[in-house]
Subunit: 517 residues, 2 copies
Amino acid sequence: MNNKLVKNALGRLVPTEVNGKKAVPFKGVGKYKPDYRKYAPPVATMADFPSGDKRVKDLKTALLKAGIKDGMTISTHHHFRDGDLVAVQIFRIAAELGIKDLVWFPSASFPCQAEMIDFMENGTIHHIEGSLNGPLGRYCSEGKMKGMGVLRSHGGRFQAVQDGEVVIDIAVIAAPTADPFGNANGVEGPSACGLLGFALADSQYAHKVIVVTDNLVDFPCIPWQIQGNYVDYVVEMDKIGEPEKIVSGTTKITKSPDRLLIAEMTAQLCLEAGLIRDGFSFQAGAGGTSLAITYYFEQMMREKSIKARFARGGSNQYLVKMLEEGLVDYILDGQTFDLEGVRSMRDNPRHRDTSPFTSYNYHGKGNFAQFVDIVILGATEVDLDFNANVNTHSDGYLLHGIGGWQNCLFSKTVILPIPLFRDRIPVIRDAVTTITGPGELIDVIVTERGIAINPKRKDLLKALKNTKLPLKTIQELKDEAEKICGIPEKPKLGEEIVAVIKWVDGTIIDAVRRVIV
Amino acid sequence: MNNKLVKNALGRLVPTEVNGKKAVPFKGVGKYKPDYRKYAPPVATMADFPSGDKRVKDLKTALLKAGIKDGMTISTHHHFRDGDLVAVQIFRIAAELGIKDLVWFPSASFPCQAEMIDFMENGTIHHIEGSLNGPLGRYCSEGKMKGMGVLRSHGGRFQAVQDGEVVIDIAVIAAPTADPFGNANGVEGPSACGLLGFALADSQYAHKVIVVTDNLVDFPCIPWQIQGNYVDYVVEMDKIGEPEKIVSGTTKITKSPDRLLIAEMTAQLCLEAGLIRDGFSFQAGAGGTSLAITYYFEQMMREKSIKARFARGGSNQYLVKMLEEGLVDYILDGQTFDLEGVRSMRDNPRHRDTSPFTSYNYHGKGNFAQFVDIVILGATEVDLDFNANVNTHSDGYLLHGIGGWQNCLFSKTVILPIPLFRDRIPVIRDAVTTITGPGELIDVIVTERGIAINPKRKDLLKALKNTKLPLKTIQELKDEAEKICGIPEKPKLGEEIVAVIKWVDGTIIDAVRRVIV
């Protein structure tokens, strides 16, 4: 990791090489233009699949047939979230086979996969390219991972696969339903988790693709969210995941008075700014505050007979109810966050599954995020230029992935409803510990003690000229927090870079440094 | 066209160069193994699509923005069949702009596109790579086209695009419904033609993609059979096609006693051979004989309480009825052949659209054709080795495309129900004028005067040991035809090669020679 550092367009020092590959520093939003071709996977032939029946006896056999060996990159998806039962099995088998230095390339990681630490300790896994949540993040933060962590947004992950930044040797796709040809979906079967969109790029670009299912049906498996013509092997096992654990965060609307206030002000701001109007669209997420915002939107829409054209999921019971009542025409969903979402996606043609190719990939000819009027996101920290952090805490620990957060910044109005401080640590800072997204794309910060609108959004400021909402400058919000909590301490960080944060175009927006324990 | 000729694995003399590109002779079924990568189109960036609204004022503007210039390859799809109104407009604009030597790469051509002859005459179009039906075939057959015709199956066309044999500069996709982002489908709107599967590879691999629609809807256009993230420009026009003309051949069951006899014997053979059994699958096509076979299948299934797992479309009213009555679980459809097919695909989740990637591409990890138990196909000629011709007539004229015919040969039992002679010209010959498909993949020839089973299919011969059906050798059938019609004359052909027939793997299975007029 003796690596030349350069200052990127946000003034952050970032490495020019990551895990032995050349890296491009962030150049500014929309400034980096790709001048190369997509990744070209090998051409297959039906002659190698004479019967079309791709079943093999178990996952170990499939991995061996796929040619698993030292140094390979193995991908998994996270539609089961904390209920995934397949990813760790891959590395248990690899460890048993004595294979070393694998790269695990999940679409996201969860605490249920903490066992991966053992595989990093014993050399089976060299490093993880993907979100590093909870225990895995802590492990990386303390400098224990051999390689550098590489964090990407959902769209950035597809960009990296499409562009050949990451070549997947073997993709393992846990599929709630599949047929012997490898057609697969997430909406049917006892382990139905909704969709398999996060595995789509993997299926199309990986050199070998293994579908693992606990619900094998006769050809054709319909719908085929994953197409069998990209699949090499099909494995049956008893249970691939616990779908009841797909529930993200909370399923209940917050009861905290502060958060309810933030939610109400957020909704009120959207209404007063004219953003809630017939045919509008929104993406609110699934935390307690987000659910409260969805609830307030719903009340306003009902009261004013306003219909939304679409809502972006992560879907949940509240969105499903709005769809079924006709308050929204469509849910465009990347991930079901509860079993009501799964049911709705299975049965309602107006609840459509999407993949990051359609929704989020910056290296496509646009994406769906551009069409979303209001997006509600979180942040651990925000600086005076509205740059925001979702990856690290103020103590420097890398504890969260990016998810679709960066990709959603391209929506029309980006609002961060956040508390002014957490555990007496102010959220608005002179400088954030890590920049996950540039402030020029962040429009509004709503806190329980006031709302700051990015001065770039003159239109919003004008529309809210006569509001009774407590508009303040972001500096005022910061001062207020510091008056209450004091000036926050800086985290104790070493020089060593343990992870990088990729921007949506594959450039490096920031580097994460080792936490000194 | 001074071109070295070599003998391929079927003993046919084929060129080693086609339109300036190296060509590989057919090596035998499953013998040619690709050792290269897929075609890699340029990486796009959302930075070039800042609003996501891709509308431009007209087709000319779109073509100019797409950079249309001499020598480019322009693709269209044929889901409107003989009702297409878009393809000729492209070349009218190109002619008006003085652009020369374009390659037209349709997924199929139809008589409504005869105006393309004018564009070949005036140099706008250099040659056509695609099916050459009717007037276009006659033009090519008489040696008038500047370049060599290249005929591919539907699967072969996708293979060629995926493998980079054909690089599409501009794809123009006529879409019955689309949104400003370019999401598009064929099931909604006044010009609904069913699906857009034949344009899928074009959308994904072409350098520039233009969607043309007469039914623009607000984002999101759902379903999105074509994904807007692959689309550069969206054009609105008054009318893109006449969907009532998608009707293929006849919509009525044949009344010819000979053809009814052929159909009945075909169905009876399938029943006696045990091919019609619970969970079976079939693809019958849409001609008068095919519809009669479907009708007989239906009677047998009803009588014996047999359900098919799926039927492959070209869908039509008869298949839709079987689906709705529960006689088949699913229709997997590549092309709707009537408006009942369109309605069913729009409304019935058990009627699924497919693309040649899933259904037919030989350079995938298998395809759906492998799962079809019985496929019913036609032929203009068959030889004593069961090699068959669907492209040329016995007078040498190239009058038909391949369609999915070659791809369907990979189904489990391939049956050709054909008359023993047409216009007193015998169909079974010592040698066919053109080999479109190798005899080793063709199992049964059913004629009004007897049935020949390929001796390779010992299992079928055994299953039919005690049948009352008139089993004969193919030599006996040929002799019988010649007894009635005499020995047919050879066509009058020059040496010059006017077109080549590609096999499903991109190799050349035969060459078509100029007809001496």
